[in-house]
Structure formats: structure tokens, C-alpha cells
């Protein structure tokens, strides 16, 4: 297994109290595999990824438990200096907004080349040549002519390609993409996702795709982990989930996608709001919003029941949910 996250707990200590952002997350991804992590804002999907990358702001963040095994090593046990060498070289991250993720005062060539200077100790000239090569690889036209341009001189899609190029520069084993297409318009979204999927296949990388867009997931993911209030509430191979969700929250998400054959009908929305992470409801965190909630849901927190060999659901009534 390339990456295994085991029972990860992350808290944020703020002036108003302790926010429990991640409460026992388990997931894993293998080389060449794509894991999609789904969930609303505040579900802990990005925080988990930041903990894996080691870029959580500590304080206020604090990892209170769990293990992050990357190629067999527990990353949480490494010193900061050792972790820094893992970042970028062995695992890399792609962020949502490429404009704000690129330094406005440095040319894209400088920023791409930096990867080779920092991790490989290359000369400036060689790094520049590598930068052009990378820009070619992510299909930026006339790469050699544009390597000296600044980020704001590129379009949104081109900038996201540059971010991808930066992440791929040292051919890491794992890439975490945090909503890589959210800031792009729809036609460009597809191009960027295709590029990412192609490159993943080419390099046989593990990919963790963090998103709230179920449409993006269906085409590229192998398996899905659905997060709610800092826990994984359902994990399953991608086809199973679309066929029959085993958690009412997943069902709600699927029902909220606009569909062409439902023209004229009101679009479904999950009622209520995501829970306040400082006061997560007792029992199942989803119970105040759940259409199937019973008394037991308000008192007992459901474990991740084994639905199938590689499928789990944290719902007391997963059987009823599966049957619809």
C-alpha cells in the first residue's frame, strides 16, 4: 500500500474552543489508484490532506492521534527536516486556485525550476530547461517562449496546468489534488481532469482527489471515501456507490445532482447545515439532517459497518439504505 491513513484525529484549538476537524479517518491509496474524497466544506477532507502533506498550521492545528503510513514509514514520526524532503519529491499537492497558489512576483519558469534547485541541487540553467520540458509535458503551447512569463499572464486553465507541472516535477509517488478544477470553467475542467488522469497513468502515481463535485469523480476515481464531520461515513468502489449508496448522506449528495431527466422538478437538497465542529451532535453526527434517523442514531455513534469486502458504511441502517 502506498499510503495508509489510520485513525487520524486532528483538532484546532481556537479562542472559542476546540474544533474537532478530523475524528478517526482511515483511508488508503495504492500506486496507480485514484481515491476520491467527497464531502461538504468543513467535513475535514482538506484538513486530512494537509495532515498527510505535513502542512497543517500547528498551532492552532494539532494531530491528536493516528498514523500516516507512506510507503511503510510513519510520517508523523519523522522530523520536520525529513518530512520536508518527502514533500515535493515523493508526494505533492495541487491546490484549488492556481492564481493564488503561484507566487505573483516570480516567473513560472522560476517557480517550476525551484523544484529542481531545492530538491536536486541543479544549476539555474538546467532547472530552466527542465521547466520548459515540464510545461511541454502539461501541454502548454510554446512553452519555451512563455517560460519567462508571470502567472497573471496565463489563463486559468493554463495556470492550473502549471500547478500540475510543479507537482509532477520530481515524479512523486503520490499526488493530492485539492479541488483542482473548482476554480475553472466547465470546458476547461474536463481538459485539466483528463490531463491529470493521463499523467497519473503514465507515472503510475497514487492520486487523492478531494472534491465536492460528484460529476468529476465518476470518470476518474477507483474508489470513493465520503466524509462528514471529520469521519468517513462511507467508503466503496466508485461503481457501487453510484448504483446504491449505503449511507443516507451519500444518497443525499447523489440526489442533489441536477439531472436532465428530472427537468421541471424541484432539485433535492439535504436539509439543515453541516454541524458545528465544536459541538458535534452525540450519536451519529448526521442524525439531525437524516431522513432515516431513529432514536439509536441520537445516542450511539455507528462504527464503520462492513457492507461488502471493500465497502463500509457508518450507518446503523445501511441495509435499509442500500435497499432504497
Amino acid at each position: 500500500m502506498l499510503l495508509e491513513v489510520r485513525d487520524l484525529h486532528v483538532e484546532f484549538h481556537t479562542r472559542d474552543g476546540v474544533a474537532k476537524a478530523v475524528n478517526g479517518v482511515d483511508y488508503s491509496v495504492d500506486a496507480g489508484q485514484t481515491l476520491a474524497v467527497l464531502g461538504e466544506s468543513g467535513s475535514g477532507k482538506s484538513v486530512t490532506a494537509q495532515a498527510v502533506m505535513g502542512i497543517l498550521d500547528i498551532p492552532p492545528g494539532k494531530i491528536t492521534g493516528g498514523e500516516i503510513l507512506f510507503q511503510g514509514r510513519d510520517l508523523l514520526g519523522l522530523k520536520e527536516e525529513e518530512r520536508r524532503k518527502v514533500r515535493g519529491a515523493e508526494m505533492a499537492m495541487i491546490f484549488q486556485d492556481a492564481l493564488s497558489s503561484l507566487n505573483p512576483v516570480l516567473t513560472v519558469g522560476d517557480q517550476l525550476g525551484e523544484m529542481f534547485i531545492v530538491h536536486r541541487g541543479m544549476s539555474k540553467k538546467d532547472a530552466r530547461a527542465k521547466a520548459v520540458e515540464l510545461m511541454d509535458r502539461v501541454r502548454i503551447p510554446a512553452a519555451a517562449a512563455r517560460v519567462g512569463d508571470y502567472p497573471h499572464q496565463f489563463s486559468g486553465g493554463m495556470r492550473q496546468r502549471i500547478m500540475i507541472a510543479m507537482a509532477l516535477a520530481l515524479e512523486p509517488a503520490l499526488i493530492i489534488a485539492d479541488e483542482p478544477t473548482t476554480a475553472l470553467d466547465v470546458t476547461v475542467q474536463a481538459q485539466v481532469m483528463d490531463l491529470l488522469a493521463d499523467l497519473q497513468r503514465e507515472y503510475n502515481m497514487g492520486l487523492i482527489l478531494i472534491t465536492h463535485d460528484l460529476g468529476v469523480v465518476a470518470d476518474v476515481a477507483d474508489k470513493i471515501a465520503v466524509m462528514y464531520a471529520g469521519r468517513i461515513v462511507e467508503s466503496a468502489p466508485v461503481h457501487d456507490i453510484y448504483k446504491a449508496p449505503a449511507h443516507p448522506y451519500t444518497r443525499g449528495l447523489l440526489d442533489s445532482i441536477p439531472r436532465l431527466d428530472q427537468k421541471g422538478q424541484e432539485l433535492y437538497a439535504i436539509k439543515g447545515l453541516p454541524p458545528n465542529l465544536m459541538h458535534i451532535p452525540p450519536g451519529c453526527a448526521f442524525n439531525p439532517r437524516c431522513p432515516m434517523a431513529q432514536d439509536v442514531c441520537r445516542t450511539d455513534e455507528p462504527p464503520l459497518y462492513e457492507v461488502d469486502e471493500d465497502r463500509g458504511s457508518a450507518c446503523h441502517f445501511w441495509r435499509e439504505c442500500l435497499d432504497g
Binding site: 502533506m53 516567473t107 497573471h152 486559468g156
Partner: protein, 326 residues
Amino acid sequence: MPEQPYEQEGAIAGTGMGGAMDLATSEATTLEKTPGGPEGTGPAGKPRSLWSDAWRDLRRNPVFIIAGVVILFLVFISLWPSSITWMSPLTCDLAKAQQGSQPGHPFGFDGQGCDVYTRTVYGTRTSVTVGVCATLGVAILGSVLGGLAGYFGGAWDSFLSRITDIFFAIPVVLGGLVLLSVVTSNTVWPVVGFIVLLGWPQIARIGRGSVITAKHNDYVHAARSLGASNSRILLRHIAPNAVAPVIVVATIALGTYIALEATLSFLGVGLKPPNVSWGIDISAASPYIRNAPHMLLWPAGALALTVLAFIMLGDAVRDALDPKLR
């Protein structure tokens, strides 16, 4: 042509790119277009950054040009005062004391019979030296301490913030009277040192604030996630994006430091004769303001002009570095 390689999505994003930077550059592009000039051949094809945009703005700003010319002139005469004077500021003829303008001595003579024109010219060196050295000291010390506090936060940040509070509570003139009155060295350096001592907390606060703003930018997270070290993040990613406010405040402060040197010298705790300083001359001339006002007006005028030039320069730089004002 560097404009061609945009693919079709460039056309969409080019009109609607978010963010103040984009807004500013697209506006700048419209300004750049000369009527009849074909699109894409203008300077829009060249790499552009905050700094090159600012420089382009400044070159067209009359305030900057006037202030710049005055400052260049002041720097020139402070380096080579003898190029526009033919006397020594210390050769004085008591017989001519307080006399007004006469041929060869356009500004007249002061209370000791020294040529006011020569003394005003030589006084420039003191003012510019104090202003530039104190500003450099303040900017370096303040931005390093403030930047580290902002970046690392925690106890060091709290400690430094309290220190700046203490320094802010010291009244500048009173502090100068107390501290400088015990100094015996009669050079500019105690004055420079005093200004740096009292001035750095201001820059440290601004540096701290802009580093805190810059460190929460996504590109800093991105650089960190790609394995950049703390020093690299600070120097390459944060410093260039946080330095603008420091430069602006430092430039404006330069003018006030020059005025502060004159104030301290006027009060007798800054420089003392035989040094030549506008503050000393203003102080010496002030009892005679009714019968020989020229003795006071020339050095005071020079001081006012110098301070004004630096403050105008700082203002112009601030406007140029703030994309929202374009």
C-alpha cells in the same frame, strides 16, 4: 509574437480573471494601448510584475519626477558640495556678521559672519547622511525583526510586540534629550543610532503585519507542500511580496528623520559646532529672526524642501505600489 500561444480558453479567462492584480494589469494594458497601434505589439508582451508596473506608473507621475530631481540634486551636492560653492563653511569673518545678501554671497552672512549659502550647501550632507543611514538601519533592523516575528509567531512574536509597545511609549524629543545629552562623540553616528533605536519598532510592526498577510497566501502553502524550507519561503516567496509597505513607510520616514536630526541639533543635543547642520544654523539664527531673518530662512527653507521631497517621493511610491489605486 509572444501573444499567439494563448489557446482558446485564454480568450475566456483573459476577460474575467479575478483578483486585484489582474484588474490592475488589464487596466494598465488599456492605458498602454496607443490609438492605431495593433494589439499585442505593445509592452503587454513583456514580462510584467508589480515592480515593473509600479516603475511604469512612477515614470509618468510628475510628483515623482519633481521629487526625484530634487533628491538627486540633494544627493549630488551632499557628495560634492565644493562643486557649487567656493568657500569653506568654517571660514567666517565676524566683521560681516548678520549682513544681508551682497555680490558673491547671495544668502548673506550669519551671526558669526559665515556665508549662509555655503553653510546651507554643506548642511545638506549632514541631513542626507542622517536621513539615508537612519532609514537603512531602521528598515533593515525593523523588517528583519518584524518579519521573523510575523513568520514564526508564538512567544518571540509576543515578546517583540511588547518591546515595540515600550518603544512607542517613549516621546522622541524627550528620549533624544535624555539619551543624546550624555553622548560626547560629536559626529552624526549617535544621532543615527538614536533614530534607529526609536524608529525600528514602526517598521517592525509594518513588516510583521505584511509578512503575516503574505504567509497565509496559497502560494506559500503551495511552496511548503512542494518542500521549500523556511528560509527559502521567507526570502523568495514572502519577502518580495511583503516588502512594498516597508519601502513606502521607510521613504516617508526618511523625510521625518531629517527633520528629527534638525530638531535635535536645534535643541543642542544632536550635532554641535563645528559640524555643519541646518538644525544648528536654525538654532543659532532664531534669536535674530526680527533683524536678520535671512539667517534663518535659508537653512529652514532647505530643510523644508528636503523633507517635502522625500515625503512626496514616499507618497508617489505608495500610490504606484498599490494596485487598487490605479
